[in-house]
Structure formats: structure tokens, C-alpha cells
Amino acid sequence: MGKKRAVILLAQCMILSLAFCGCSTFVPLSERAIVKGIYLDESNGMVQSALVVYTCAPSANTAEARSEARIYTGEGATIEQALKAAEKKQNKKPFYAQNRLLLLGPHTFDSASDYLLYFGAEEVSRANLSVFLTDTTREEFSQLEEKVSVVVEESERLMQKSKGKGSKVCGVHEIRYDENEHFYGYLPILQIHANEFTGVEELMLYDSGTPLCTLRDLAMQLTLLLSGKAQSLETTQSIEKTQTTLRTQQLFLQREIDDNGMLFIQLCGKTESLTQNGRALQGDSARQALQRYNALIDEAAQQLIHLTTQRGNDVFACGWWAEGALKEVRIQSRIRMA
């Protein structure tokens, strides 16, 4: 008897909790504007917005049911007003819970902290919203309507791919601020063009909310590696006027701190392949090329440290490893032949 009552009680709780899912004041799917991307830029002191909205047309034939992406633009004095203006361009109720993409246009680079703070708020967006900078202006973006679904899908693919290894994505929950609420760290730059989608090939480095420089190729990969978002390197450099490609296996960061506050980071691991003009290198030539590569990585890493930790911009959390007693950081690449 007791068991039966327990089951009835639990079932009743569950059935009644269904009523809490919003079924009573529901909005049908066909009346929902599913936002899959937000674009924001600035012009003449006004915030310009563009919403990538997927509309669902109900159909009895499931084979015919399809959704199409539309771009609605708006403008306002604040981010909220700009978004509201874009929402009003269509008559459905916007639904932001599916949105995982925030694009910041070229005129927002200097004031990215304001946008990140706004979207970092708990009630505004989900914490897994990914932020990208883009050189594409609002006008150019709004003309991409036919191809915007590709941009959304490819960005989402980047987010999926980013799980664990080789992430070039920055979620709002990963954004860190200094005591003045200025963002420090880096943001990926998404290349969006009318003809092709090249993904992320650059990162923008920030210090106290100000863009410092863009990081490409080896510097970008080292940034991802040192911040724990990548675990291997794949780069092509010109060594003795020949294009040489290095691909490593999983790399490990060994950190040591001495009594003088010097943090010594070693990049340890083995090569997966080392090729010159598509031809695999072997023997002494491979060893020499790898030696040059290690020297190149050392140089690039040191420059990176000069741009970040030595300026007090602790992007790689070196201070954490040094327990606050950090004076200097040295990085050495010790990649060996497999």
C-alpha cells in the first residue's frame, strides 16, 4: 500500500510539474522567432544590431517542413534598444535560448568590454554564448542573408569541435575582467566573406579593455596552448627559405618556479610529422629542422610573454602557478622527434 502511494505521489508531482513548463501560456513554434545569432556594431555613437532569425513554417508534410534564416537589423542608443529595434522588424516573439553566437563588428573592438559585460549578465544570455570579433560591417553582414545559415552552422561546428582540444572559441563565462571591469585576454576573429567562410585565423589580444594586437599562426596556436585550449601545434614556417610544416602529438606544459620568482615553462612532446614542401623529413635534416623550429617557438613564446605577462596582463594565469610571487616567465620548447 505504501509503495503504491509513493508511486502515485511521485507521479502526481511529475505530472503537475509539467504544468510549470509554460504549457498554459505557451507560444506556438510557428509564432517563435528563433534567434541563432546576434551581430552588434557601432556607428555615430549608436549601436547597430542584426539578429539572425530562423523562422519555422508549419507543414503537414514533414518532408516539406523547413526553416529559413533571415536577418533583421535595428539601431538604438543602447544595446538593449538596438536589439529591441531589430526584434520589432518582425512580428514573432523572439526566442534567445537557442542562440550561441555573438558577433562584434569592427567598430566595437575598442569598447568590447561593454558588450561582454552586458551579455555576461545571467538574465541576458546563456553562459555558453560564444563571442567572436569580425571585420564585416553591419551593411555587409545584412547582405549575407542567403549565406548566413552557413555562417551559423560553421560557427556552431567550431563550438562543437572546440570541446576539449584546439578550441578557438571564447564563451562569455570564460571572459575575465580586471578590477576596473575591463576585459583582458583574447577574442577570436571570425572571417566572414560573401564567397567563403574561413573560420578563425586570428585572435585579438586585449589588455585592460583595449585591443593590443592580432595574433596569427604560431603566436595564435601558442596562445591557445598556453591558455589550455589546445594540446598540439600545427604550423608552417619558412625555415632556410623552405616551407616546413610541423605537426606535433599531444604537448605537455611543465611548470617550475624558482626561489627568485621565475616561472619556467617547458613545452614537452613529440612530433607527429615534419615535412618540407610536402616531403617527410628524416635523419639529420629532420633533427636540424626541428632544432630551428624549437628556436622559433621559443622566440614566438617569449614575444607573447612580453605582450602579456610582462605587461601585467596575466592571460595565461602565470601568477597562479607562481602563487603571486611572479617576477619573470621563461618558455622553452622541447619538442622531440617521435
Binding site: 510539474s17 513548463c21 597562479w320
Partner: protein, 337 residues
Amino acid sequence: MKAKSLDTDRRWPLYAAALVCDAFIMQFGQTERFSAWETTWAVLLDTALLCGLVVLLWSNATAERAGRLWYGVSGAALLLSSACIFLDMEQFYRFCIDTPLPEAITLAVLLLVAFYACDCGWSALSRATGLLLWLLAASAVLLWIANLDKLQVTNLQPAEPKAGNLLRACVVYFRFPSALLLFGVLPSKQEGALPVKKMTWGLIGLAVVQISGAILSELVLGTGAQQYSQTMYTLARLGGLSVFHRLDAIHLCVWLLAMLMKCTILLCAAAQALYALKPALSAGKRRGILFVLLFIAIVAAAAMHSAVRQAAVTSLSALAACVLSVQGRTIWVKKEL
């Protein structure tokens, strides 16, 4: 409430559920936030203090034939605590749902379930709670697994012992859980002293849940964890397993169900106290009185600021504990003599 006696094994899930069921939900209106390190130490110190209090007050005390004062004060504490959970639950539900039901309807549905549960009796409630505790444990494990790829050890704030901060954290996190009063109110088959050991184990379990939640939040969100009003819910929204990204819906279902169960248990315990006070009343009249009292408690709790509300529950529960200590020890000594 049917006054059918329960053995200790049946009382244990009820007590455990009443302790941990709302551990995943942070109290709204609590503006002060602390690092994982401060939270850990504050929770450990508070738990040690609570365990000490429980041992000090209730070792060699019994709730058998406890007086009207005990049932009166503990009933009031349990009723107010239940009303607070009702309000917290409704607020959390509105916080999470895009298009929530109106406040009054939500509360009416919750009250309906709670009163039905009261009618089912302790035995059914204990079995349902046993199942729910497994669901809660699964939810906690899932929360960790779904966020494994986001853990960054460098997010953990350095341990900087500042006595002022730690003291403030201890004050903010200190609660005298009304769940501790359950063993004194629930009808028991075994006669004897209050199971002080079990009570302290429950408190230790609650501390483990709170500490692991604080550490997970900081490992994933870093200093940002202190900006969120509902950190665990943020983690639930952030985490994902393979292609499943909306696990927060599952967590939400379990957590709301758990909160509902907690306020039901406390309400049933309050009904039990009322029964002990006025055994001659008919079941219908008792239900009516309980409903009116709960309504008053909800209105009173809604008028209070969340910190005041929490302080009122803690004070009433502590007062009830003191009353039981005095009465229970006297009865125990008389019995031993």
C-alpha cells in the same frame, strides 16, 4: 497527517531530503558572495559548530512525551520554514522559466500536491523521498560530468586567509536547519534517545554537497561564479554531454521536485506537531487549521526580506532545539531513574 509510527530507517530519507533538497538552489537576495576557499572553510566551521550544538543539546534527550511548548515552537519553525521554501521555489521557478504561470496558480498547484502528500502518510512520503534522493545524487554527478571539459584549475582563487572575510562567510552561511527538528516530531517506533549520530552524519553530508558545489562553480566559472545569483543553475545550462546541450531541463525538473518534497516534508511535520498539540481535533478540522496557518506563514514570509526570513527560521528552529533539550533531558533522566 496519519500518525503511523516509523522506524529509524524510514525517518532517515525524510531527514536527509529535508536537509539537502534545496542545496542546489541559492537563496535569492543574498548579495554577499565568497570564493570557494572561503565557502569551504565557512561551511566546515559552521558544520562543526552545528554538530557540536546538536551533541550538546540533544545527547541523552528524548522526544517521547515532550511537552506542548516543544510541539508549539517546533511546529511554528517547521511551518515558517515550509512557507519560505514554497516562496523560494516559486521564485526559482519564475527565474528559470521563460513564460511562467501566474504566481497564485503556481502556489495553488504546489499547495495541492503538498496537502495530498500529507494525506498519503509518512510511509509513502519516505519511499518517494528515497527515490528522489537517488535522482538528486544522479543530478549532482551529471553536473560534474557535463562540465568536466570546462574545468580549469587556474580558475581556483588562491587561499588568502583573511579572518574578516571568513567570519562574514561563516555568518552568511550559518543556518540551523529546521530538518533537525524532524526526529523530535516524527512518530517513532523505537523509544529512546534522539539519534544524534545520524543527525551529525546528515549535516556532514550537506556540507559535502555545499563544498563540492562551490568548488565546481569556481573551477568552471572562476571569479565570475560570484556574479551569478544561481551558480548551480548556470552550470546546469553550461554543461553538455556529447550532442545533449540542454541538460538544464532535467536538472530543473529534479531540483524543483526536490524542493517540493522538502516543503511537503516540513509541512507534514508541522501537521504532526499540530496533531500532538490537539489530538482531539478531527482530520478535516486539522487540515483546515493547517491551511490557514500555512497561508498566514506564507504571507508573513513574503513580507520579509530573504535574510530576515532566514534569520527567523534559524532563530525559531534553534529555540525549538533548546526547548527539546530541556524537556527531553528531563524526561530521559526521569526515565533512567
